[in-house]
Amino acid sequence: MSKICTADKAMARVHDSDMIAAHNWGISGSPGYLFRALVERGVKDLTLCIPNFIPMPEGFVERGLTDPSILLPQVRKIISPFIGARGILSNLSETFLSNLAKEGRLEIETSTHGILMERLYAGATGLGGIYSPVGVDTIVAEGKEKRNIDEVDYVFEKPLRPDVGLIKADKADTLGNLVYRGSARGANPLIAMASKYTIVEVFDVVEPGVLEPEMIVTPGVFVDCVVRIPDEDIYSGKRRTELIQLLAEVMLARGM
């Protein structure tokens, strides 16, 4: 029962108004190939649940960086603790996003990195809600129940159960077992567990038995579709050297 399929076929399960979860933190571990496929799929009114939403400078996506802001025309709501609209890397001005928000075309719900993870965890494990010690009396607690338990204040947080998880792993076997590499692991394992339907993009696919059972981080049961990035694609494992070269140039140019 191989789970390998094309991005096209995998995306057929994504619908208007779905909640999509994805990872984004730095230049690694964010599913750029699937983001592009989601644009091609053309669904709308999505809610995007993402630890960071960091736009890239113009021209960088074409060269292999992942930019969640390519999804903006399809997104009605972003749930994220960090929107990098002010960053030096941004090509989206705060004004642009503000205008979307003013026109009612974009809703933003904030959280903290840790609590966003806990809400996804609560979704994954079927909990009805959790009491978070973080965020009490802050902006993230607005409109939420506050409760004192054993002399500590907590904020009631509800679970998040995304319809679709778009994740990225280093390798998959045909059963959907996944291994990650370094800090590209990110929120990917959690998103796989929390989502009702999980699509993963990988650099490589191997036969069952090739991945060490002790090294498998995401067991195949949490994965519905495995999409291998084609070798010729800018996001492929074969072409990562081009991205390294680009970033090395940037680093040298900045004199870091």
């Binding site: 730095g26 230049i27 996003l97 903290t112 370094g182 800090s183 959690l190 680093m251 870091m256």
Partner: protein, 221 residues
């Protein structure tokens, strides 16, 4: 105008709070500069999922750049023996477990140790909270590094926060470019003065009242 610490010296003083055997998280901004001064035997955590990584990649070793070895601020790191990787859920459990010393920047600290770090305005449309609230709440010991005053000379150490709060009564120690101040249940205690500054001069720069420690001393590096 008296001399204030450079960012580099501030970071060097802050790094003295890290002891061998400590686990610590160095927040984005000023705290990141501590990285080069962490003592042998202390271990640094990156909240995007790494513990115990090696020195950062810089211009001199760009060839060591690995796309999958990035810290929370987006810098590339080199591997180190005993390094471990984990997902972000585990990372923030680690952060809230009380097992890490956290070093954060700050916009304001109140005399009760309330911290404002995530936002310059309560009408802010776009969240920049990130992991700051988790780091502030969960730390075994929270050290805030910041300039003592804003560019306009306004005290960042205040009686009551005027900026949006990130976490209540969380700060243990404040290290600024003119002083080291401890947050105690009895209020703020001035522990160290930057060379050239008297306690009175530091109080003048500080909105919140400071008690001067009996053993107040000149900052050493």
């Amino acid at each position: 105008m008296k001399d204030r610490l450079t960012e580099e010296l501030l970071a060097i003083r802050a790094a003295q709070e890290i002891k061998p055997g400590d686990y610590c998280n160095l927040g984005i901004g000023l705290p990141q500069l501590c990285a080069s001064h962490v003592p042998e035997g202390a271990i640094v955590q990156a909240e995007n999922g790494t513990l115990g990584y090696g020195p950062l990649v810089d211009q001199d070793n760009v060839d060591k750049m690995d796309l999958d070895f990035i810290d929370a601020g987006g810098s590339f790191f080199t591997p180190a023996p005993g390094m471990a990787f984990f997902d972000i859920l585990t990372s923030f459990m680690m952060i809230r477990s009380g097992r890490l010393k956290s070093f954060l920047g700050g916009l304001q600290v109140s005399e009760r140790g309330d911290l404002a770090i995530h936002s310059l305005s309560s009408t802010d449309k776009f969240p920049q909270i990130g992991g700051s609230m988790d780091l502030a709440w969960g730390a075994k010991r929270l050290i805030v590094l910041m300039t003592h005053n804003t560019k306009d000379g306004v005290s960042k150490i205040v009686k009551e926060l005027t900026l949006p709060m990130s976490a209540r009564a969380c700060v243990d120690l404040i290290i600024t470019d003119i002083a080291v101040i401890e947050v105690t249940s009895g209020g703020l205690v001035l522990r160290e003065c930057v060379p050239g500054w008297t306690p009175e001069e530091i109080q003048e720069q500080t909105e919140a009242p400071l008690k001067v420690a009996d053993d107040v001393k000149e900052m050493e590096f």
